[in-house]
């Protein structure tokens, strides 16, 4: 179904972090940006579609004070809003937002880091762009910061802090089907496996809480009102977001899942884990009849690699890319 394409070399190897690959497809310029986190740096590579040009850029995490120890980056993700695209980088010290080519930093938000380290780690993790002009970022305390983003310029403001989760935020996702009819447009996940479902607005509204079973949910997506969650046990569960009804449960992987992704135009689902496997599934979701079906389509094994990032490169799922711990390349697969 898929075959391996030429890999893209990156300047450093990928660190073992959840969702450690972000992809932004820029059709008018016929190129795609990829970002991979290595310790305190973001490796960005822009690949032209003809496969001839690769431009590299490295972004460092920002430290307010040079004398303090290195600030490790937890995640880097592209945020696509109607008016603009931004690259958001979250670290132990705070949140940086760049123009999507990584050229200029437009905003910096510092986290409250204590003078001496506490037993509970402090960091930001979990990034999502939410309708209409919000960027949400999770924090290790369980709080979710909601930033209001103007259509241009750097006048980004912290609009709200959502305090519902009691454990560290792991990942979050906004509704990606493009449908305006979905009531819920954000799902957030934490280390206890709990999912919160929200409706965005001047004041975000909590629509539902889906409890976890004390097993971390490391990656989550939202499509056609269905929350697709990957867990540390290797299971994937599909929930109807607003009601919490469990529609499907997959014993998908033999190790901790690090990444799930959805191709919204085709309903393809991608999952990747520490077990070296990337799997492709197909979901058929009909919200009107509340029916959800999942079938397994394909496996790819990245030998001797613990995968930490996997993303479709386009909305149809024609191609996908994968990163692994200690690997200095982005491996690509294309449909045969």
């Amino acid at each position: 179904m898929y075959h391996k394409e030429k890999s893209i070399q990156i300047k450093n190897s990928a660190s073992a972090l959840y969702n450690n690959l972000s992809v932004l497809r820029i059709a008018p310029r016929r190129l795609t940006h990829f970002t991979v986190v290595h310790a305190n740096m973001v490796n960005m590579v822009s690949a032209s579609w003809d496969g001839l040009n690769y431009t590299h850029r490295q972004l460092q995490s920002k430290e307010p004070n040079v004398a303090t120890s290195t600030s490790l980056i937890m995640q880097a993700a592209f945020c696509v809003l109607p008016s603009r695209d931004l690259l958001v980088v979250t670290s132990q010290k705070g949140i940086q937002m760049y123009e999507s080519d990584g050229s200029i930093m437009v905003y910096w938000h510092a986290l409250d880091t204590p003078e001496t380290p506490t037993a509970q780690a402090v960091f930001a993790r979990g990034i999502a762009a939410v309708y209409e002009n919000y960027i949400c970022v999770g924090v290790s305390s369980g709080a979710i910061l909601v930033f209001d983003v103007p259509s241009k310029g750097s006048n980004i403001t912290l609009s709200e802090v959502l305090e519902e989760h009691k454990e560290s935020i792991t990942d979050m996702a906004s509704e990606c089907s493009g449908s305006q009819e979905c009531i819920a447009n954000l799902v957030t996940a934490d280390d206890g496996g709990n999912l919160c479902v929200w409706k965005s607005g001047e004041e975000f509204q909590l629509l539902n809480k889906i409890p976890g079973f004390d097993m971390s949910c490391s990656s989550v997506k939202l499509w056609k009102g269905t929350a697709v969650a990957g867990y540390g046990t290797g299971q994937i569960r599909l929930y109807e977001a607003v009601t919490g009804i469990l529609h499907a449960e997959i014993n998908a992987h033999a190790r901790w899942i690090y990444s799930v992704d959805i191709a919204p135009f085709s309903g393809l689902l991608l999952s990747a884990a520490e077990d070296s496997l990337v799997r492709v599934w197909h979901m058929t979701i009909t919200p009107e009849t509340n029916s959800v079906e999942v079938v397994h389509l394909h496996n790819e094994c990245v030998t001797d690699t613990q995968i930490c990032g996997a993303r479709f490169c386009d909305g149809d799922g024609y191609a996908f890319a994968v990163t692994g711990y200690d690997l200095s390349e982005i491996i690509r697969y294309i449909q045969s």
Binding site: L72, T170, A248, A254, C301, D304
Partner: protein, 380 residues
Amino acid sequence: MSSRTLPLLFINLGGEMLYILDQRLRAQNIPADKAKKVMNDIITTMFNKKFLEELFKPQELYSKKALRTVFDRLAHASIMRLNQASMDKLYDLMTMAFKYQVLLCPRPKDILLVSFNHMDAIKDFVKDTPSILSQVDETYRQLIEMYTPLSSGEFQLIRQTLLIFFQDMHIRVSIFLKDKVQNSNGRFVLPTSGPVPHGTQVPGLIRMFSCTGEEFTRLKFNNGGNYTTALREGSFDIFGDRVTKLGTNMYSVSRPVETHMSGTSKNSAQHTKVSAAPNPLAKEELNLLARLMGGLEVQKPGNADTGFRISLFATDEEEEEALISRPDELSYGVINIQATKDQQANAELAKIMGEFTESGDQSPSVSNKGDDLLAMMDGL
């Protein structure tokens, strides 16, 4: 990231160090009483109360340099001596072994079981010495107290922090190559077979449910591997069967300890060189180290008759050769700061020395202790 990583890193690396030293002491036919003294001295130092107090405080992981300096000091906590090349090799083996154990742990929480395997072995080394035994038991209690309440997500954060520390290390270890757990490119073999972790189901099943919660269909799929159901869970108590073999002693007199320097990854960005100019980062590490070293008892080598040298190589020529041919990017670089010229460091060291005399520890004179600390700081 996680501020609870250092104790696990230290105890597991320390455990591996003891396995290797034990093997070398026997391979070099060091008399049993001397060998025992070496092991006891090192273990006593490792589990020194003040030292462990510092270690267990919430803190970020040390840099590779700082941690290497701690282990240099630890390895010399007895009458045994190691040359630079042997110390380098010892550290390579320790770190690659623990990297392997962290990567192969089925669940992040299993790192605690690996730590208990090391602790169990250490306990066995000192089972005839009650005073050290009680220190070790106390450490078990501290580990249990600190780590058993943690969630799976918090353990994964600890694991991710450790993996950043070990990033890009691909030193080839002979025993791993022979056992086929490491490839010739230095990367570990990750099997897609064997038992799944405790709490995980064998992949291959999709269950779908109706709105009322009834399962209406199930589909099977090919998982691409050869998995079996999980084994029973290991014990997280002071005593018990840990089930996993990771963290147990893989060396014996007949299995030599070799590493291969060539063919390592070009992206060894983590191994930075030491610069002559003092920088703010190094100063903070020095402060941390000084606090930590303050808890380590200093052992004078005593007279020349009792001291002896251990080598990690078959011959002295090999050791010489290893030192000369070690690639630059793999040099650990000990913290190299002109302590005598650095006001802040001086104040910190003076404070440590002051603490020692106040606490009434039985120790050599203050100036000797200061000399040893400075000698260590200036780079062995």
